[in-house]
Amino acid sequence: MELVCPAGNLPSLKAAVDNGASAVYMGFKDDTNARHFAGLNFDDRRAQEGIQYAHDRGCKVFVAINTFPQPSGWSRWQRSVDHAADMGVDAMILADIGVMDYASHRWPELRLHLSVQGSATNAEAINFYHQNFGIQRVVLPRVLSLKQVKQVAQDSPVPIEVFGFGSLCVMVEGRCMLSSYVTGRSPNTFGACSPANAVSWNETPDGLETRLNNILIDRHGEGESAGYPTLCKGRFNVEGNTYYAIEEPTSLNTLELLPELQAVGVDAIKIEGRQRSPAYVAQVTKVWRDAIDLCEKDPENFHSQADWMAALEKVSEGSQTTLGAYHRPWQ
């Protein structure tokens, strides 16, 4: 199994490569990728440097161009595809049908992966992208149970990649407009969810309030830690109960499922977190490298080690982890 690690900038890329990533994925410094955050991502010179660093050490580089261009921005996406191809990346991770059509015609020899933002949750959807654009791998949304992952892996014409660790999207990626409903900007259109420019934090007599474009996402009393107000991870009121009505602020961690993921034929494990620090990338990459190596050697006796779990818990959002949808009762 390939270990695919996040590279939000050059130090993170090096951290991933140095700690055993099989591949790193990166984006350019604009809205053509789904981690469009200030201070993140690569300009042309840094990208070139990063690709050189990774290739010199036998690590592949994927470029994510995985948002959905509208007519006014089309040329920017086209340019990103051309840049990535010119730089000699190993694969492009795409979501938009138009961009895939362009890339597969202009760069027919280039390897294409279907991004998680492409929302393919079944083999027929994957067939469409395979037959029309020759995609060679699909990244599955984080909403499938292990049984469903197995089914898709069996029926899919191409190998599959799944998320192993990191921030958890409770909605099907590519099919969530909650962020643009509140702020005007969504992962699909802008490459960011609950963007920072719409966030405010206010100390009030009732506690610390977090807001997104003035909508109250949560209120934290004394002793409660306040996380980033991603809008689906706030506390809301439904029929008189106030609770995490959509999702708790937790991270996905599937380390203990590794032998099962291997057994169902998963081709690659993806680590989320291009927006996280190089220290996070180093830590998570190292643990997952060790785990995959052990699992491949002796899957029958594999069990997640306490020090791995401790290391991962430390860098998890909300310091809690979940098996997410892989564990059916989550749904």
């Binding site: 959905f68 509208q70 007519p71 006014s72 089309w74 938009d96 049908i97 138009g98 961009v99 059509d101 362009y102 929302s119 949750t121 079944n122 083999a123 027929e124 959807a125 067939n127 469409f128 992208y129 037959q131 029309n132 909403v143 499938l144 149970s145 469903q148 089914q151 099907v172 590519g174 099919r175 969530c176 407009m177 909650l178 643009s180 409903y181 509140v182 702020t183 005007g184 969504s186 699909n188 259109t189 474009n213 909508i215 109250l216 949560d218 689906c232 809301f236 009121n237 439904v238 029929e239 109960n241 106030t242 009505a245 959509i246 999702e247 949808a325 059916r328 009762p329 989550w330 749904q331």
Partner: protein, 309 residues
């Protein structure tokens, strides 16, 4: 002022698929009353959750027959999130029917009909640019619905450059379908696992309200779907739609007054009432506020100044 000219081509009106889970008799009564309205096109079928089976496929076909007899164009709409084999086999049956056009809400449906049968796509198929429209038109797409988060500006260019023979449809009225998950939020609200949801959606004919901690109506939980609490209402923009020569305007069903809402759109399109009259007539049928921000390129929940005088 009534700017609508009587001699230009008017958009048709459509009724989108029923997004909620209603008792069987209520569904039949609803569509019997829809048969008497001036809506031109009706989308039928379950698009949200495969566990909602009070109406089997033959019951939907019975309703389709009734509406066809009343002169409506019927389109069979399909599931948005497909994971299980059973869901794909149900989809295959619908996609291979010979009597009605089918609305794809997932790329699996597109794939099953590509090159075999003309199809339309719903708002959950991500068509954000002209090149995507061209690819899907080559596969046999005859009609597309603009994704709800896109603006007038984007629509204008895409519609003007659309492939020959492709119709454009816009979601103009209703709570906005914003997100899909594998998790059922209605079951979660009742502390029930999805596999044993006890069909709680039946209790919420317009979805389950989610409020912020300062009691602002924010979102609506509808099983695995999340909607806006506010109703998107583009009744003021009919002159725009006529000028742009948009083919179809979609109204989304709600448990009450859908017939009257259709009538207001029809009256407005045919110049029987002006913007102010239409706006005023609509007010009493709108649940928990209205919005039109997406259409203007802003946050979807925003409402233009005109709507909040």
């Amino acid at each position: 002022m009534n700017n609508i000219q009587t001699n230009t081509k008017k958009p048709k009106l459509s009724l989108g698929p029923l997004l909620y889970y209603w008792p069987r008799d209520d569904v039949f009564k609803f569509y019997e009353s829809i048969a008497d309205t001036n809506v031109d096109i009706v989308y039928l079928g379950e698009t949200v959750c495969s566990k909602r089976r009070l109406l089997r496929p033959d019951a939907w076909l019975q309703i389709a027959g009734l509406l066809k007899e009343a002169g409506k164009e019927v389109v069979l709409s399909t599931l948005t999130l497909l994971e299980a084999h059973s869901e794909l086999s149900a989809l295959r049956k619908i996609c291979s029917n010979e009597d009605y056009m089918v609305e794809a809400n997932d790329m699996s449906a597109v794939q099953l009909m590509a090159g075999k049968k003309a199809f339309s796509t719903g708002p959950a198929v991500n068509i954000y640019n002209s090149r995507t429209l061209e690819v899907l038109a080559r596969s046999g797409m005859k009609r597309w619905v603009l994704p709800v988060e896109l603006s007038r500006e984007t629509l204008t260019e895409m519609h003007q450059k659309r492939p020959l023979g492709v119709e454009t449809e816009v979601f103009v009225f209703g709570r906005l379908p914003l997100a899909f998950s594998a998790r059922c939020f209605t079951a979660r609200a009742h502390n029930l696992p999805k596999d044993d949801c006890q069909f709680r959606c039946l209790d919420y004919s317009d979805g389950l309200m989610l409020r912020t901690r300062e009691d602002e109506s924010f979102l609506v939980l509808n099983g695995i779907q999340t909607q806006s609490a506010k109703t998107q209402n583009l009744i003021r923009d009919m002159d725009d739609f006529i000028e742009l020569e948009i083919d179809i305007l979609r109204i989304s069903p709600q448990s009450r007054n859908t017939e009257q809402i259709i009538q207001i759109f029809d009256d407005r399109l045919h110049g029987k009432i002006d913007n102010d009259e239409a706006e005023q007539a609509m007010q009493k049928f709108i649940m928990s506020g209205e919005c039109d921000g997406y259409w203007r390129g802003e946050a979807g929940m925003d409402a233009s100044a005109v709507s909040n005088p």
